[in-house]
């Protein structure tokens, strides 16, 4: 990330929750619906404050629960409003019904997930099980590494979601407790620049609640022996191809962001010290900072290790991951959630799925850490690097390692 300050931008110090709220204001969102939940609560409080201050000209609905939150936004989006909400953990679970419906309606709603571990046991701490549990629902999901990336990505999310080749809702995920409450120096882009970048909003050209052009939005499709399944398949295929289109749109939008604002973020994956690497770590979200430190230390010891950060998780950048890992002998994938029934992390599953497209077999192993707010420290990453090195030398088998089990 380059740090050349654009003339009209402003430097502020804020945490990830406030950064998301600044982005919502900059994107001129018109309808916000919220329900507080730890660790997202301060984000909705910033939104309420910005509305009260006049910085955000939006209607703010203090809804009676997350299920209502997303339903309110669907109504608003169908009526033509640019919309935003954020939630996490059990809140995401409670909104599952309107959540799964949003992509099929092709509504470009942007929703932050301030990632939190899921019940049970009861925990209000960070973890990515909430977002990972809804990865197959048809939303675009991007994961941020830094507070600046939360701000920039939340603005970019509108451009991606509203792109006519995409028209899908976007989750901008930032790690609860780490990014939600960790303060950093952040560059706030100039409003006119953001306006020029986003252009006119484009949310309901395809489906609208508009008295001037009445339409029946999402009536029941025909019966199973009639046109129903064919209609359904057409919709599903449409969503799937929009997801694939999103890969190039996300890349283009990130490139344009870099050109306009002088600050670049890797759109799909970021390769860190991957040239000549014999083995690599694969990370997602805020853990990446500590992992890069561990990689730097290992490089100083002469170990040929690199790192691949996955930013865009849905659509999964299969080709980019396969290409980036093609030359390594082994990869260690670090997850902050689990995949039940596979006994590994969900990102690990995706990575080994992508490695099917690699020209030769790459050994891989799964690391699970950071559940329920646990730290994944540089010490944990040192240990992960040691194990992946063994795997690369054929000195150890793969499998799943639980990083915080004996902390």
């Amino acid at each position: 990330m380059s740090a050349v300050l654009k003339p009209k931008s402003k430097l502020i110090v804020c945490d990830g929750n406030e950064a998301a709220a600044w982005a919502v204001a900059a994107a001129r969102v018109e309808m916000v619906a919220v329900y507080p939940i730890t660790p997202q609560s301060s984000l909705v409080e910033y939104l309420a404050k910005f509305v009260a201050d006049g910085r955000l000209a939006a209607e703010l609905v203090d809804a009676e629960g997350e299920h209502s939150v997303l339903s309110v936004l669907q109504g608003a989006c169908l009526a033509g409003a640019r919309t935003y909400t954020a939630s996490c953990g059990p809140g995401v679970a409670f909104m599952f019904e309107p959540y799964v419906r949003t992509p099929g309606l092709r509504l470009p709603i942007v929703m932050g997930i301030v990632t939190r571990d899921l019940l049970t046991p009861q925990s209000v701490w960070g973890g990515q099980q909430d977002a990972m549990s809804v990865r197959e629902a048809g939303w675009i999901q991007v994961y941020c590494e830094s507070v600046q990336e939360v701000l920039d990505t939340t603005i970019m999310a509108y451009k991606i979601a509203e792109h006519r080749d995409v028209m899908l809702p976007v989750n901008v995920c930032h790690d609860g407790n780490y990014l939600s409450f960790g303060a950093a120096r952040v560059e706030l882009p100039d409003q006119a620049e953001v306006d020029a970048f986003l252009g006119e909003k484009d949310v309901n050209w395809h489906v609208a609640l508009d008295p001037r052009r009445p339409m029946a939005v999402d009536p029941l499709t025909g019966g199973a022996v009639g046109s129903g399944p064919a209609t359904f398949v057409r919709y599903r295929k449409g969503e799937c191809s929009a997801m694939q289109n999103a890969l190039s749109v996300i890349t283009e939008v990130h490139e344009e962001w870099g050109r306009r604002f002088g600050r670049t973020h890797a759109p799909l994956v970021e390769r860190y010290r991957m040239q000549d690497a014999d083995y690599a770590l694969v990370t997602i979200g805020s853990m990446t900072g500590a992992a890069k430190d561990a990689v730097d230390a290992a490089r100083e010891r002469g170990e040929k290790v690199g790192l691949l950060k996955v930013k865009t998780y849905r659509p999964f950048p299969v080709q980019a991951v396969a290409a980036a890992l093609a030359q390594v002998k082994a990869a260690g994938v670090v997850d902050r959630s689990v995949s039940f029934g596979w006994n590994c992390g969900p990102l690990f599953q995706d990575v080994i799925g992508a490695l099917y497209h690699a020209p030769r077999r790459v050994a891989a192993m799964s690391f699970i850490g950071g559940l329920a707010g646990a730290d994944i420290t540089t010490g944990h990453f040192d240990e992960a690097i040691r194990r992946v090195a063994e795997l690369a030398q054929g000195a150890a088998a793969g499998g799943t390692v639980w990083l915080n089990e004996k902390d």
């Binding site: 329900y35 507080p36 939940i37 609560s41 703010l60 009676e64 997350e66």
Partner: protein
Amino acid sequence: MSATTMLDSAAEFDVRDYLRAEMMPHFLCPGCGHGIALRALLWAVHELAIDKDRLAVVSGIGCAGRLSAYIDASTFHVTHGRPIAYATGLALARPDLHVIVITGDGDCLAIGGNHLIHACRRNLKLTCLMLNNEVYGMTGGQVSPTTSETRVTSTTPLGNSEPHFNACALAAAAGAGFVGREVTHHVPKLKELIKAGLAHPGFAFVEVMTDCTEIFGRKNEMGSSAEMVLRQKSELRPSAYRDTVDMPFAAKDLPTGILARNDRPEYGEAYRRAAVAIKSAADNPAAGRKSRQ
């Protein structure tokens, strides 16, 4: 009840017999009224001689939701808004238990409002203790469905513009068998109200007005905990005074005491009786046909 017997029963009751010592210190803020409500509940349990082994307490999420963990009984801390639904399953499966729900205004009226009205409609024997502090305290003081108009919260920095619920009127309209409200200022009266709710053979809804001094009170410059409790006392009038005393009850004019009571059939009992009747008709079809002729 005379003053003497009240003192005697208070002397017999030791709240520590009903608390999990290992869970102390509790997490409530200084001045919070929830502890008073918890003590009143346990005092009522004690006076009704309810066996702790037959006591099940279900609570949701929020400051009120944390209380079940402090009670030395079978307790279940469930998801946000759902304690009444969990308790419905528990009470139907184990009619021999006393099932108590502890919930807050957000848990019970916002995210779980649907469950409340249907529990009232069914009239299943449960005691629902709703602690109303007008705010989402645990997440930092956001607006709730009982926040009074114009009150400042962290999500209504210019003052709340939405109308608030009258929870007891809602429960009574939905058909709850027993409905009552009390303030934490009157501890023995609160205990008696909860006792009447626990003894009621149907769905009992008891609303306790408590004070959130640290967050709600501070934001709205409502003074100390004592000042907040005294204000609640003077703003809420006992229902028995309605036509005779005007002062000092004025501001909210919400009544306290037992506000509604009916003898509608209790759902669990009616369900089990119907199940027996259906089974006996199935076992003896000839008798069934004869009786219909």
